[in-house]
Symmetry: C2
Subunit: 596 residues, 2 copies
């Protein structure tokens, strides 16, 4: 049976030591969120994840969701778990106190989210989508809409969805066909078919609030003619109680590679009653507020699954005995040594670990900036935070999910043939992780967002929000002996980013294909460099404490050694990525279409 234990020590390290949570507690509204309170919240979340959600992960995969006559049933136990989840107030965690939320600082909320994803990513999608709907509505909704819908979304009494995709339109929302016709009473009649709607129909809540992209009759063609509508599954009466069913039905659920406990629905809107959210024809902007939140969350899915995969691989490597160490017997009392003695097994485990802890630290940084963006009163700090989080969102989404899949597959490799057997529960992580590279914008689309939109934005200002602190750190630590082995590789990776950026900017002006040709490799190059930077920062904190002869000393020593492993073994990829980027678009574009 798989195991999972929330990595609280590392989470506390990131929240408190790496990013100084006491400083965040000084932001308006955060006074009660002392490090002590955050720690106790994390402990409660760990209990929930470990004892309520994780035990349903494997059974949820085996059983899956079922569909019958428009009714979707979640796997056994999900309903009870959702009730526990709601009763514990976890749906309200990240929401504003104005609507019954707890206003938890984003860095802490993100750690809780990681635990949910580690424990049961399929379950986590239900409250996850609700939170996305909450974000979009709270940004773009009218006061009446907010009062009617947000408290019940926040309390988890109702859930939410985002309905974008249609059979003919995924990435290219300009091809969207769902129509919205105005009614006399100010509402709209929505008609169209949506697919791939996560949590589109289920048995966890009494109502589901769909946020639906559709076209008004007079809408311009393409993406400039898309509006956002709120369409409840069950209509809500003026007194807030539930009225009749709306013209919304689930026509099928998808049979998928993984996340089988999550209902992925085809939803048909048939003259369904809906209300405009935000301005006509400005639906994409409102939806993107939701999308950006979701993109970070999807990145965290990659991280969360990777953590569980890692923990199980470690446990198996300790437990499984097979062969002897290359340097001679290590466990003479046993018939063979645990496979943890083999360098290649350690290489796999440290690769997983170096990525996971690096990603957690990077996510913590992005979350911190988002918290500043949402709560600071300092305009400069808010602008900087907005820039940085916009720059990093596609990187977190794409790199974390690519790595999540790689790490899940590495865990299978540690298990050998046993990893391929369903009973052991490890291959599920590979299947569950694979979706995160695809939804909320494929990872290729994330890379285009980074290179085509975020890099040139505001004269390249966003990029400086990353480059400047790295350069400042390198300068400030020039004489820091503990960092001596770490700064040269960081410096070199940074140069690779700078050279690659210059190459793309120079060539893309005359040929836009250079953007697409470079984008995916550039995102990984940038992401690895960002990981190198957070690793160097972690070393700066950990190295002075690495000599302590206690458990904490071991934690800090492991940090320094993992950082070393990252720099030596993983960061050198940046050179290969730079070379690939510099080869440009010519070869791939000249290849004759018919010859593929």
């Amino acid at each position: 049976m798989p195991i999972y234990k929330a990595p609280l020590e590392d989470m506390r390290f990131v929240l408190h030591e790496l990013y100084d949570s006491t400083a965040l507690a000084e932001l308006p509204g955060n006074a009660e969120f002392t490090p002590e309170l955050i720690d106790s919240v994390l402990e409660e979340a760990a209990k929930l994840a470990e004892t309520v959600l994780f035990p349903l992960n494997q059974s949820g995969d085996l059983e899956g969701c079922t569909y019958e006559n428009g009714v979707v049933r979640t796997p056994s136990g999900f309903k009870e778990a959702y009730k526990t989840f709601r009763d514990g107030g976890w749906t309200a965690m990240g929401a504003s106190p104005d609507y019954g939320g707890q206003g938890m600082p984003i860095p802490a909320a993100l750690m809780v989210e990681e635990m949910l994803c580690s424990a049961n990513v399929a379950f986590g999608l239900y409250p996850g989508l609700s939170h996305g709907a909450y974000v979009a509505l709270s940004h773009a909704g009218t006061e009446e809409q907010k009062q009617t819908y947000l408290p019940n979304l926040v309390s988890g009494k109702w859930s939410g969805t985002m309905c974008l995709t249609e059979p003919q339109c995924g990435t290219d929302l300009g091809m969207l066909r769902t129509r919205a016709v105005p009614n006399d009473d100010g509402s709209y009649s929505i008609t169209g078919n949506k697919i791939f709607i996560s949590a589109g129909e289920h048995d966890l809540t009494e109502n589901i609030i769909h946020l639906v992209l559709a076209r008004l009759p007079d809408a311009p063609a393409g993406v400039k003619g898309i509006s956002l509508f709120l369409v409840p599954k069950v209509l809500v009466k003026d007194d807030g109680s539930l009225g009749p069913r709306n013209g919304v039905s689930c026509t099928a659920i998808e049979h998928k590679m993984g996340i089988k406990g999550s209902a992925t629905c085809a939803i048909s809107f048939d003259d369904a009653k809906g209300w405009l959210v935000g301005e006509p024809n400005k639906g994409l902007a409102a939806m993107f507020k939701m999308m950006n939140t979701e993109r970070l969350s999807v990145g965290i899915q990659g991280l969360g699954i990777a953590e569980t995969a890692y923990q199980n691989a470690v446990a198996y490597a300790r437990d499984r005995i097979q062969g002897r160490a290359l340097t001679g017997t290590k466990a003479p009392d046993k018939q063979a040594d645990p496979i943890l003695v083999h360098p290649d097994v350690r290489r796999m485990l440290l690769t997983m670990r170096a990525y996971i802890e690096g990603c957690r630290a990077l996510a913590g940084w992005v979350a911190r900036e988002l918290e500043i963006l949402h709560k600071s009163t300092d305009d400069d700090a808010k602008q900087a935070a907005d820039d940085f989080s916009a720059l990093m969102t596609p990187i977190v989404k794409a790199m974390f999910t690519d790595l999540g899949f790689e790490i899940a597959s590495t865990a299978v490799q540690v298990y050998g043939g046993h990893g391929y057997i369903r009973d052991h529960g490890i291959e599920q992580y590979v299947r569950d992780a694979r979706i995160s590279m695809l939804y909320e914008g494929t990872n290729g689309i994330q890379a285009l967002d980074l290179v085509g939109r975020k890099l040139p934005q505001d004269g390249g200002r966003l990029l400086t929000r990353f480059l400047d602190p790295v350069m400042e750190f390198i300068e400030a630590n020039a004489d820091n002996a503990a960092l001596e082995p770490f700064l040269p590789p960081l410096q070199q990776a940074l140069e690779h980013v700078q050279v690659a950026t210059g190459f793309i900017m120079e060539n893309a002006m005359s040929n836009h294909d250079e953007i697409g040709a470079a984008s995916v490799d550039y995102l990984r190059l940038f992401g690895l460099t960002a990981l190198a930077f957070v690793w160097a920062r972690m070393v700066a904190i950990a190295a002075p404490k690495a000599d302590e002869q206690n458990g904490a000393g071991q934690f800090y020593r492991a940090k320094v050694q993992t950082a070393k492993f990252f720099m030596e073994r993983l960061l050198p990829q940046t050179g290969a990525l730079l070379a690939a980027i510099q080869s440009g678009s010519a070869t791939m574009m000249e290849f004759e279409d018919a010859a593929f």
Copy 2:
């Protein structure tokens, strides 16, 4: 619905143009295997693969095998397909005419094998294991054993297995517990439990010949005390007809991530009657004859699945319209451009293609050397062929299967969210490909075989069988203008191999952990360099024909462009791999066990 069409043009290119099949026809016993005959065999195989096996691939995955009271049923249609397969003589393809085989040259047989794996890898495992059993028996069996069992294995009337793994012993066969006690009649009583036995029980043949590793009562401990036994499911009478059931039973089948149409069995031997194959306590050597054949075949599984994944990704990229080209509309008559216009989609497709065609060419080289080894009368040529194929076997097994999985996952990425849906049949390739990195020795074990065994063997002679032809080629083509852009990257990759080899050899003497620390990265570095070499050789042939204004011209131009893509985009990884190797084992070995 997924598609598959055998890549006959490329197969002919590899067999005839790259490696001169007419020269192979001059080996003893090969006279009838003219290029024309080989082509017609390939065409027949293509028909079988495309029209009989491929249509059962997706249904076989959905239905899987079933187990009831010791009886295993293969998915619907498998029995009929196996009959067609047998009737067509395909089980006899690679076997010796002495036992009813066709004695087909190995390069051609390997292309047929690739087609089977592309069409239905789960089905292909049944005849594949039989061929493995054939190889082991024909090497180590007595004349009587051969006469009794080989003709029926070759005709496909019976099938075979290899029974190595037990719950406590996978890689480390020294821990094997199955016992063999001698009977008075010269037979042995075999008792023990084996797991993960592919084709261990099924409904395709009337008998199954198990080749079983077990210990004699007086056997020394560890791997030096393992013997090989032939244990038929149904005992064979002196007249060759079937007698009573033997004490062999299938106690369960595994529920796996993929290859669900292949029965992976737990087999219990309960005083089963068996016969010693080869010398007592020398079972591993005999089994390794089978293993090496199987390892090449498993590599071809990676290649075969990758080919189908590629073809489907191309078809989807042509068909799916979404968005507009970055450089402006390409299909003004459509609502959007096919996604094939996007550089990143082309990058993904060319990455798949560059690996696939490179691997096919490399496999063709190994197959050619194996053919020389088996049929040549020239001792020097045989020795060289033996060396080369021994060196390359772990690379083909590990790199091809790693890439097969990566490529299958890339195909899913080209499909976007639709790739995650089971109905579309693409995610199956990811699941089916994953096993090949694990069985017949995990890819980590392959890398240890390469670095720990093959490199130092015979004073490094095996390595020269690769390095010498590469250096000769570079020298011979120094003035070849067509190769100008290709030789410098090849030269550099070769240097990376040489530096890495020197580093390992120097350091491994004092510290064996250096072998394991370097092995996986070294295997990939070596493999990429081998691909670079076969790509350069293909360019040497294709470049002069690339200007022809016909279909063939397009084929050759595509070869040259794909080679360019490989050199520019993929080969630069060798630098990163070298850097990782040179970081050595210290960091991973110093990491405290308790800190994982």
